[in-house]
């Protein structure tokens, strides 16, 4: 096994310095080309023959750039194989004195190292294009295919190789090569892993070529140095136009010639720039999604030599969901999010709908609220509107993730209209709330999704309470807590959930979780413990916690089978959270609380932890209270002190809850 040794910091420095020189030289080269171009337009007999020196200079610029990039790739290979090296604090002496040794295969893989010599890369690409021509004419065995893709082994990460090969063979050549791979293996059944690996080499080559396009945002570029490529080393517009729709393979009837399925397999493993990915999907996937009458556009059906990769829509969805921005932008364009959610069936012979669900989840959880929120709005209105159902079984998790990321939107919708201002619950003004309720109701019909929605609701409640510090006004926080909680619990009440015991178990779990939110506000007290760093499950209201409780139907209070009891208990639990919060952020002392209900500090009914002589003690978690402590605590919740302290907030919660209940129940 061949090995390389080097100081990666020095390699990296060399590459950077070299590329700076290239940038200067490129400017000079451009000036020479322009000046000589102007001069050559003259018909004067005194202008000498200008020769090819300007062209040689341009070529040299490209060659130096390529070589300096090569050194940078080797440096990246060393860094990639020693991941923590760049994060480790090192003195200049340590950095200068370091020499690392790794095997060349690892170096090539980690650094995606291409050719040192651009001319060699271009020659290799032309040789591979020639070989494709030969195989097109003579046909290819599986051995031919392996030899063919091996020609791109080094070049697939090399922009000069990838651009030359791509321009030579065009999109059609890529499609032909992919179809050739399929045809070489299909005699013996599905395309085996080595056949898929061969396609992946083509996909990587395509990705590398597309990465040379101008105008790509830095965050969107795989190799940042491609930003500064000389223009003649970039992939041309014609190729991209073909890829984004101009190239149309056979309809599927001229099998085994290239079909859209082959193109989709090729692109499944590619990672194009955002804009190109969106255009590809709009041109090649959207029309299929809209074509509800035909299932063949989703799956090849039988025979399907691509096996699990034989789904056209899943393939394009996989390509998109590799890229957050592309996922969000595609879902937002046209009617794509509605089409994806409306799609019914056809996935069972491929991935069961998982890829499109992953795509939806990627879009709905995009880091930028401005991108994810409009998609979530439309998803809610699509599922909760006329459709009134979730058709893809994988979509429950995706949409639940959307609720987690967009709970603010749910809160906005839950509070944007009230019965009093609306006047008529049948009017279109209530549609957003009705759709949101129906959307949540469909989600709550599946355990895992319900657990995530409940968990997100309690996260929201805790965030809202945690955001109100000493001396702060609650503002509309309590209205939002009441409205969101009510919308979710009403959706759960109206969901199709199995037996009465199972319903009660869910409700019990939510109430227990709400109590833990109440407990968590002791974290706002000095010395009251820190809860903010814990996850939802650590706090006792995460999705996994809920799922476990959903299954525990033995220790459930059967009263919660009745929705009225559940609503009342929910209001009480929110009151406890508000009371605990008020105690935590106000001047109220433990002595004030116990004095209000006549309990002796340190006695058996004292529900505070810590030294009875302290002024501000944390309230014991509700589940850990003894019967005596719990009775006293409930007595305090009903006391005039609590009533005076949170009367407005409690009223706001109650009104928001009543409003939702009436808006939901009041419609026909």
């Amino acid at each position: 096994m061949n090995r390389s040794a080097a100081n990666p910091f020095k390699l990296s420095r060399y590459s950077t310095d070299g590329l700076e020189l290239v940038q200067t030289l490129e400017g000079k080269s451009r000036e020479v080309s322009e000046a000589i171009g102007t001069l050559s337009a003259s018909s004067s007999p005194y202008v000498p023959r200008l020769g090819d020196a300007p062209a040689t200079l341009e070529d040299l610029v490209g060659d130096w750039f390529h070589l300096d990039e090569f050194v940078g790739d080797v440096a990246n290979g060393f860094f990639g194989a020693n991941q923590y090296l760049q994060e480790t604090p090192l003195s200049p002496e340590q950095m200068d004195g370091m020499v690392l040794t790794i095997d060349d295969d690892t170096l090539a893989r980690q650094g995606q190292v291409g050719y040192a010599d651009r001319d060699e890369a271009i020659a290799a690409a032309n040789a591979m294009a020639d070989e494709l021509e030969r195989l097109r004419e003579e046909g290819a065995s599986d051995e031919d295919i392996q030899d063919f893709v091996a020609m791109a082994g080094r070049g697939q990460y090399d922009p000069a190789f990838a651009v030359t090969f791509s321009e030579r063979v065009g999109v059609e050549g890529y499609a032909d090569a992919t179809a050739m791979i399929r045809a070489a293996y299909e005699q013996s059944g599905n395309v085996p892993p080595e056949g898929i690996a061969a396609v992946q080499v083509l996909s990587t080559t395509l990705t590398t070529a597309l990465d040379t396009r101008p105008g790509i945002d830095d965050v969107d570029r795989h190799d940042l140095s491609n930003r500064d490529l000389p223009d003649d080393m970039r992939l041309g517009d014609g190729f991209v136009e073909d890829l984004t729709g101009d190239y149309v393979p056979g309809s599927g009837t001229d099998y085994p010639a290239p079909t859209e399925f082959d193109v989709s397999v090729l692109l499944r493993f590619a990672d194009p720039p955002t804009e190109v990915a969106v255009e590809i999907a709009n041109a090649r996937m959207t029309p299929r999604l809209a074509n509800e009458g035909y299932q063949w556009d989703v799956s090849m059906g039988a025979p399907n030599p691509w096996g699990e990769y034989g789904g056209l829509v899943p393939n394009y969805a996989t390509m998109l969901s590799r890229n957050d921005d592309a996922s969000a932008q595609w879902l937002a364009s046209g009617r794509n999010i509605e089409l994806v959610l409306a799609r019914q069936g056809g996935y069972d012979t491929t991935d069961g709908g998982q890829a499109v669900a992953d795509l939806v989840e990627t879009g709905l959880t995009h880091w930028d609220e401005d991108q994810r929120r409009p998609i979530m709005e439309r998803a809610i209105d699509a599922v909760g509107g006329d459709q009134d159902e979730i058709r893809n079984p994988w979509m429950y998790d995706a949409l639940a993730a959307g609720v987690e990321s967009n709970i603010d939107l749910i809160a906005d919708r839950a509070t944007e209209v009230t019965l009093g201002t609306l006047g008529d619950t049948e009017g279109s003004g209530a549609t957003p709330i009705h759709n949101t309720h129906d959307f949540l109701r469909e989600l709550m019909g599946e355990d895992r999704a319900a657990a995530r929605v409940y968990s997100a609701t309690l996260d929201y409640m805790a965030d809202m309470l945690g955001g109100v510090g000493p001396g702060d006004e609650y503002g509309n926080a309590t209205t939002r807590i009441g409205a969101v909680t009510s919308l979710v619990t009403e959706a759960d009440a109206n969901a199709e959930v199995g037996s009465a015991e199972e319903r009660a178990a869910r409700r019990q779990a939510f109430l227990d979780g709400t109590n833990r939110v109440a407990d968590s506000v002791i974290g706002l007290l000095p010395g009251g413990g820190t809860v903010s760093s814990l996850t939802g499950d650590g706090l006792g209201w995460g999705a996994d916690f809920f799922l476990a409780q959903f299954e525990d139907t033995d220790s459930v209070n059967s009263a919660y089978e009745d929705v009225g009891e559940f609503r009342k208990a929910t209001q009480d639990a929110i009151t406890a959270a508000l009371a605990n919060h008020e105690y935590a952020v106000s001047d109220m002392t433990s002595g004030d609380v116990l004095g209000e209900i006549g309990v002796e500090p340190g006695g058996e009914s004292d529900f505070f932890a810590g030294d009875p002589d302290d002024d501000k003690r944390p309230i014991i978690p509700i589940e850990e209270m003894s019967d005596e402590q719990l009775t006293a605590y409930r007595q305090w919740l009903s006391s005039g002190q609590v009533n005076d302290a949170i009367t407005n907030e409690r009223t706001q919660v109650g009104q928001a809850s009543d409003n939702i209940q009436e808006l939901v129940e009041g419609r026909t």
Binding site: N2, A6, N7, L25, L39, A53, L60, D63, D104
Partner: protein
Amino acid sequence: MAAEMPARVAAVDGAVVVDFPWTAAASAVAALNAASSTLGSQLDARAGMLGTLEDWEGTYRREFNGTHGRLTSTASGLKESLATLASSIVTGAENANQQQRVNNTLAEEREAEPAAS
């Protein structure tokens, strides 16, 4: 030494003006001189930078060396080619000036002939 454009010989009254793109030629000579000079200094800089890579060993280093050698050789030759091209444009300009002088003389002679007769 960088090539330098000569001053243009102006045409006298009645002389045929020699066709030569003076502005474009001056721009080209300046650009070629600058590129040649930059190439020269970059060749020196790149030779100095090689010391940074003294620890680098292995297949990729050998590939680097081969390509680096080829490009250095190309760059050295190109430095001279660019300078030569600049010189040949300057020569063209000088030739144009020379022809202009001839044309000017002819014009002056034509101007003098009617007075003599």
